[in-house]
Symmetry: C2
Subunit: 195 residues, 2 copies
């Protein structure tokens, strides 16, 4: 799906309910996604370091902020449709490149305006095995993963529910941001050679 | 111009620069506005009470909030293209129905990303002559008015610069909100008969 160019001044800032109702439910029913800023990507597997997954796309914009201590931070957000990597009907593999997407919260239900459960979301972070250098260089990655739940799973669902929508945020702050800016002037440090 | 229906999840939240560059400058050059959430309205004149001007349009959505004291407030925002009501080449009439749009700030310049002045904005509020009941009933009205300025006025401008874009916010809070909600169950109180 190519990037969708909007008229100037529009921002894609969907509510949880909009993501479930208008995007994820449509996909589960075999409908094409509405034209939007959501990209389709594989987020799991041996080569799925998040910085590699998104190296060829740029539908996200950088936000730069300064907190009250004048510490500079940068943040990017992207919306992704992906398939979960299932090991069995109940088990999911979260392995992604040299690390994994690690759950930070249990599933939190999403209700529609009538109070009926239509989906759920959970938060995950990208974590490598004991190597803090990699995330210092490549930024801190947070994922909010949206799944169908409640009535969305019983109302005419034709396809197996492997699809999720992820809101992924990549951020750098303080010293790590300096590392990022220095990195542009030096060689790329990969996952296999963190030092 | 009919209301523009966007795909779900998109919000019209233009930056000052986007309003000037992609909307107001285009209009001044005689181009049609890009399809957007901006409506065209007359905001000045004997019959231009803001609640009457917007009685037939609803491109704005209500936001309800509670502050830390649990005081409920409601707010709506709309973007409007309008012509200023000029009395002479330098004087503007701000009369609108039973009140006027009263300037609260001088013009603040708007720069593009290269630091060059492209426009200016000022803040106004709607004020009636000593009758606080009217705004209690019809809400508190704030306007941010965007005008061309600097290079936008010299680069090939063909038309007289009477057009402005206004971001108008209408809000109710606390007791005034109760009056609004009670009003739905009683007669409409007009400007001429505030009591």
């Amino acid at each position: 799906m190519s990037e969708f160019i909007m008229p100037p001044g529009y921002r894609f800032e969907p509510t949880d309910e909009e993501l479930i109702r208008f995007y994820l439910s449509e996909k589960a029913l075999g409908q094409p996604l509405p034209r939007s800023s959501i990209v389709e990507k594989e987020l799991y597997g041996d080569n799925a370091n998040p910085w590699d997954v998104f190296s060829d796309t740029n539908p996200w914009k950088m936000e730069t902020k300064f907190d009250k201590n004048e510490t500079k931070s940068k943040k990017k957000t992207i919306f992704v449709l992906t398939k979960l990597s299932k090991i069995s009907s109940k088990r999911i593999s979260r392995k992604a490149g040299c690390g994994l997407w690690d759950g930070q919260t249990g599933a939190i239900t999403i209700n529609n305006s009538q109070g009926i459960i239509i989906g759920s979301k959970k938060m995950l972070t990208f974590r490598t095995k004991g190597d803090s250098n990699v995330t210092k260089i490549h930024g801190h990655w947070i994922m909010h993963e949206y799944s169908l739940d409640g009535v969305s799973l019983i109302n005419g669902l034709k396809f197996i529910n492997d699809n999720v929508i992820c809101k992924i945020t990549r951020s750098w702050k303080g010293k790590d941001l300096q590392v990022l800016e220095n990195r542009k002037r030096s060689r790329t440090i990969s996952c296999d050679h963190p030092n």
